[in-house]
């Protein structure tokens, strides 16, 4: 077994699938010779050639639109958009076309493609490089939105995303790109795309998160155990479609739920989870569902981003409030 960072796991999933399926083509700005600005495609052009790992002009709308055409022809394009903040020129293509092509043509033309983008704050990046806007895409019918939080899940979920017959927005939490290695078996095995992962069993409270915030959530769970609170931790991983069953099942045992995400609070993925808990889990709930999130503000530039990001303290406070609720 190999030891990889999340970033290396992404690259290895690419390498596996480029080797296994000649229809797979990787395209984006700086993905070829430079191996991507984060090096997620480092060395792939050397191995697989410039026709399969393609440096494009600087133009997100056509990169995604072109990928739609490629997908319609049976290729499996994997698009890298350099940062999530630069996905917006392509939103027309993603929402009006990628997400709808199957429906519009009653299945005659489909769109198996992956749109990757690093996202989230905490690495002292410049303006527009730190936002978390996964809810925009999760809200759109016809898209899968997948967010890995560990090397093993990055590897398995990316393979699943590439093999999925529909468009997948694959968002990579860059704050944990190089944070620690994990043993991963390089066997080309995909993970299920439509289910949450229970990372820690617990009986007192359910903590639900995804992406880089999993780190603080697990840390909070560890600290909470020292004060006698036994938290279950769920990594949602596939934001949409949402595996609410796993969350409902957990909350049916704990009765309490705290949702943690870096994105702004209102109208976010946390709101959807809370709404579903209020709908189907109401009889299990012993306390109001709480959200620990970024604020409904523009993400501050890096010097002040810590004020914005939900840290361990805020998670612990929310859990305590939830536990004290009678």
């Amino acid at each position: 077994m190999a030891e990889w960072t999340l970033l290396e796991a992404v690259k290895q999933a690419f390498a596996w699938e480029l080797g296994a399926d000649e229809n797979v083509v990787v395209l984006g700005e700086d993905v070829g010779v430079n191996g991507g600005v984060f090096r997620a495609t480092d060395g792939l052009q050397e191995t697989f050639g410039a026709e399969r790992v393609v440096d494009t002009p600087l133009a997100e709308s056509v990169i995604v639109g072109m990928a739609i055409g490629m997908a319609a022809q049976g290729l499996k394009p994997i698009v890298e958009l350099q940062f999530m903040g630069f996905i917006y020129p392509a939103v027309d293509q993603i929402i009006n076309h990628a997400a709808r092509l199957r429906n519009r043509t009653r299945g005659r033309i489909t769109c198996p493609m992956v749109i990757r983008a690093p996202f989230g704050g905490g690495i002292h990046a410049p303006e527009h490089h730190s936002e978390s806007t996964e809810a925009l895409f999760a809200h759109m019918p016809g898209l899968r939105v997948v967010i890995p939080s560990s090397p093993a899940r990055a590897y398995g979920l990316l393979l699943a995303a590439i093999r999925d017959p529909d468009p997948v927005v694959f968002l990579e939490p860059k704050r944990v790109y190089r944070l620690g290695k994990q043993e991963v078996e390089d066997n080309g095995a995909a993970l299920p795309l439509d289910s949450c992962f229970v990372l820690r069993d617990g009986i007192d409270v359910t903590l639900v998160s995804w992406g880089a915030s999993i780190k603080e959530t697990l840390e909070a769970a560890g600290k909470l155990s020292q004060i006698g609170v036994d938290a279950e931790v769920i990594d949602v991983a596939t934001i949409s479609p949402l595996d609410i069953e796993t969350i409902l099942d957990s909350v049916s045992r704990t009765g309490r739920c705290v949702i943690v995400h870096e994105a702004a609070r209102s109208f976010g993925v946390g709101a959807e989870i809370a709404a579903q808990l209020a709908g189907e889990g109401i009889t299990s709930l012993l306390a109001p569902v709480k959200r620990v999130t970024g604020f409904d503000t523009v993400m501050p530039l890096y010097r002040y981003e810590d004020q914005y990001m939900p840290g361990v303290n805020r998670i612990i406070d929310a859990v305590k409030e939830s536990m004290e609720y009678r």
């Binding site: 700005e29 700086d30 070829g32 010779v33 430079n34 191996g35 600005v37 440096d55 494009t56 002009p57 600087l58 133009a59 997100e60 709308s61 056509v62 903040g85 630069f86 917006y88 020129p89 002292h124 990046a125 410049p126 303006e127 527009h128 490089h129 609070r265 209102s266 604020f295 409904d296 503000t297 523009v298 501050p300 530039l301 890096y302 010097r303 002040y304 981003e305 004020q307 914005y308 303290n313 805020r314 406070d317």
Partner: protein
């Protein structure tokens, strides 16, 4: 006509050795304006080195260097009138400092603080735009407003060669032509967009020719020649102000630096190409020209560097002495009037600060 062959002239005044190829523009007669151009370039270079050092020591975030781009900003800045508006991208230090933006404000911005965009001496210029080419669109709107009010003003917007591949760029030059807007699109063609060379960016032989497709003027200028940039942009601005004739000015330069401090250009760029480009860089030729034609002495040159050094040091001191933002300041600028929701979240935030510091 061959579809790709427009034979657009490249305007040049100074050759790489510093010899004038044609008479100096009248407006630059005398020593003062020339020394001003040189001073701006030196100041930009000195500032740039200091900013990179600050980044290396952790005192500044990711920073995009201006090395090799100084003549463009020097010329553009001098060509603009105070009443014009600049809508810049992120390699425009030399322009911005002529527009009243303070060096410390530029540092505050790249140091991760919004206050670096609240220029104390500049009311209308936009802050730099990070999402590529988006600023071109804003420039057309500003130009529309100027024309709407019958003002004798114009807009300069800048972008890189890579940016000209984006829809925003094409849409902007097209609408500027269709509506006859007073705007000049200055394209800094430094041959690279991070790791993507111009040849992979476009099959067009020039960027200036993109103007012709939308019916506006397109011209090329040696972007290592501050005099040429000044002259070409001055004329373009006159046409924009007086006749509402928009244009593209393609300034040919070379990115002598890494893309940003987060980049390592040696991964994708040939050292030989870089070495060759260095010989054409803007400061060397300008100094040679001043020396041979305007009695510029080594003593004066040294004094200029000393002066720029001290100006930059003062800016760094001011940057470092900038007091922290108020905690939770990021709540304060979301809407003209704070919303109930934000007030509530702000309270929550302060309660948290009180509990945990």
């Amino acid at each position: 006509m061959q579809g790709t062959d427009f034979n657009i002239e490249t305007v040049e005044f100074l050759d790489p050795s510093g010899k004038l190829k044609r008479p100096l523009p009248d407006a630059l007669g005398g020593r003062d304006k020339l020394i001003h151009l040189y001073r701006i370039m030196v100041l930009t270079r000195v500032f740039d080195r200091a900013a990179i050092n600050l980044q290396r020591t952790g005192a500044l975030g990711t920073y995009p260097s201006n090395e090799g781009q100084e003549a463009i900003g020097a010329g553009v800045g001098l060509a603009m009138q105070d009443t014009d508006v600049l809508v810049p991208y992120y390699r425009d230090v030399a322009t911005q400092i002529q527009r009243g933006t303070l060096l410390e404000e530029i540092l505050v911005y790249w140091g991760g603080d919004e206050r670096g965009m609240c220029f104390s001496n500049q009311a209308e210029d936009f802050p730099v735009s990070v999402p590529i080419a988006t600023q071109c669109c804003h420039a057309t709107g500003i130009a529309y407003a100027m024309k709407y009010r019958r003002q004798n003003r114009a807009v300069v917007t800048t972008c890189g060669d890579g940016a000209t591949s984006k829809g925003d760029f094409y849409e902007s030059i097209n609408i500027a032509g269709a509506m006859k807007l007073p705007v000049v699109f200055v394209v800094n063609n430094n041959r690279w967009a991070i790791s993507v060379p111009l040849e992979k960016q476009t099959a067009a032989k020039t960027i200036a020719q993109k103007a012709f497709a939308v019916g506006i003027d397109g011209i090329r200028v040696d972007g290592n020649d501050a005099i040429a940039v000044y002259q070409v942009v001055s004329e373009a601005l006159e046409h924009a102000r007086g006749q509402h004739r928009p244009s593209i000015v393609e300034a040919l330069s070379y990115r002598l630096c890494d893309h940003t401090t987060a980049d390592d250009a040696s991964r994708y760029r040939d050292q030989k190409e870089l070495d060759q480009a260095r010989e054409l860089e803007p400061l060397i030729r300008f100094k040679a020209y001043l020396q041979s034609e305007h009695q510029w002495s080594e003593t004066e040159d040294e004094a200029l560097y000393v002066d720029c050094d001290s100006q930059v040091k003062k800016a760094i001191d001011a940057y470092k002495a900038t007091p922290d933002q108020q905690p939770g300041e990021f709540f304060n600028y979301m809407f003209a009037k704070p919303t109930a929701n934000l007030e509530k979240q702000k309270k929550e935030y302060f309660a948290e600060v009180k509990r945990h510091g």
